[in-house]
């Protein structure tokens, strides 16, 4: 990796830190409600998938597909419509960082 790329990576890292100072431990708005249906406890096995540790990009894509109607849903289409892209990204990043 050359110095220029390293500098870019460092700059991006700093940007991420300054935008979301506590992304790892502080749940962004809306995130804490999800575990009503999507179990936080790994020991619970149900028809509804867990969110913790999932790839953030994948979670964002799913929410966009629910919102556009591209993916059929019973409940999630209505919930996805209550969140902006930025909010979904923050929630997805937070869940991706959870165990």
């Amino acid at each position: 990796m050359n110095a220029r790329i390293l500098a870019i990576v460092a700059a991006l890292g700093l940007a991420a830190i300054s935008v979301w100072p506590a992304a790892a431990d502080e749940a962004p708005p809306g995130a804490s409600s999800c575990s009503g249906c999507h179990a936080a406890n790994a020991g619970v096995s149900t028809a509804v998938p867990r969110l913790a540790g999932r790839n953030a990009g994948e979670l964002v894509a799913q929410m966009q597909a629910f919102r556009s109607g591209e993916r059929q849903a019973t409940v999630m289409d209505k919930i996805a419509k209550g969140f902006s892209d930025a909010e979904v990204q923050a929630i997805a990043a937070w869940y991706a960082a959870q165990k």
């Binding site: 502080e26 749940a27 708005p29 809306g30 804490s32 409600s33 999800c34 575990s35 009503g36 249906c37 999507h38 179990a39 936080a40 406890n41 020991g43 619970v44 149900t46 028809a47 509804v48 019973t74 409940v75 209505k78 919930i79 419509k81 209550g82 969140f83 909010e87």
Partner: protein, 426 residues
Amino acid sequence: MTRRRKTRRDFLASSAALAASAALMPRPAIAQAEPHVVVVGGGFAGASVARALKQLDPRLPVTLVEANRAFTACPFSNGVIAGLRDLSAQQFSYEKVVADGIVLAPGTANLVDTQARTLIVGDGVRLRYDRLVLAPGIDIRWDALPGYDLPAAERMPHAWKAGEQTLLLRRQLEAMEDGGLVVISAPANPFRCPPGPYERASLIAHYLKTKKPRSKLIILDAKDAFSKQRLFQNAWKELYPGLLEWVSLSMGGKVTAVEPATNTLVTDFGRHDAKVANVIPPQKAGRIAELAGVADRTGWCPIDPVTFESKLVPNIHVIGDATIAGGMPKSAFTANAQAKVCAAAVAKLLKGETPPEPKLINTCYSLVAPDYGIHVAGVYRPVNGVLTEIEGSGGVSKADAPRDVRAMEATFADSWFKTITSEVFG
């Protein structure tokens, strides 16, 4: 012994020092030195907020005041009434709550000294708090429906707090002969679990259809509209034709009095003599809300939608069914969601920080039959001090969904119960 006495003397000395410094130092400094959160009520709201606080700050002392040794959940208790599940499936111990390091204070919260920030439990146990979170659920308004008092509820159960009342209603249905009339009286808004009376009617109708098919069920309603109405009514036509009848307010459905001696429900238009009468009476916030001064004239508690702090008394937060929560219904999902937002806000406030504006979700499933589920869902945020449903979000199950989707929703309902009870009590 010597060592113990010395410890006690040290404690007294440090207490005196603390008291002296309290006089000299501004209040927030003391609060920061030894913050203590007391939670009243170990239901979906109270147990959730206590555990969420511990998760956010494992060193924060949290005390949970609860009168019952175990919790009996209301969601799915209509299934117990209809003979589809046992009451034990509704019951949860506080073992795991205590294992988190939460101090369980058994007893009834009887008084709040808001000046001294002290809660009195039982005969006089005093608990000092920096922040008090009240999650008292509902109480029955025994003064609201003529004839409906505590003894009347033994004859005409409300079964709106799960437990003995749930089993009583079930036994009455089991004892009823085929061909009997069951009457459910549903209250005006607001009340705990808006779709609850209609899920209950559906599952009792399912029981009657399969076990006592010549029987009939009437819902006498103090309202002209109710939660998931079109979905319920379409399903009733399909599943329980001729068995279940809904009488709206404008059709004379409002029950104005009851006569327990004859199991009679009285409306302005007539009298209904029931074999089994389930009176779901008007309600208010649980007793401690009124005693603490956080309930207003409606009997419910106005709150700040960002922190869930009472709009009437500082340093007291209210969550769950007891609140006036704008568009959010009084549900277990809502109680749990509010609890987690409140915990995050309280943790911030104790550190002197400002809580961010939250977003909350509610999802409620109802069963119309064991394999037939429907839902309502919504996303909420504070708008002008009121929790408001976000435009374009939320709604109910599709009106024309096929039966396999209804069956899938029944599975999701079951999943939800497992998940939420494991988060709150597991």
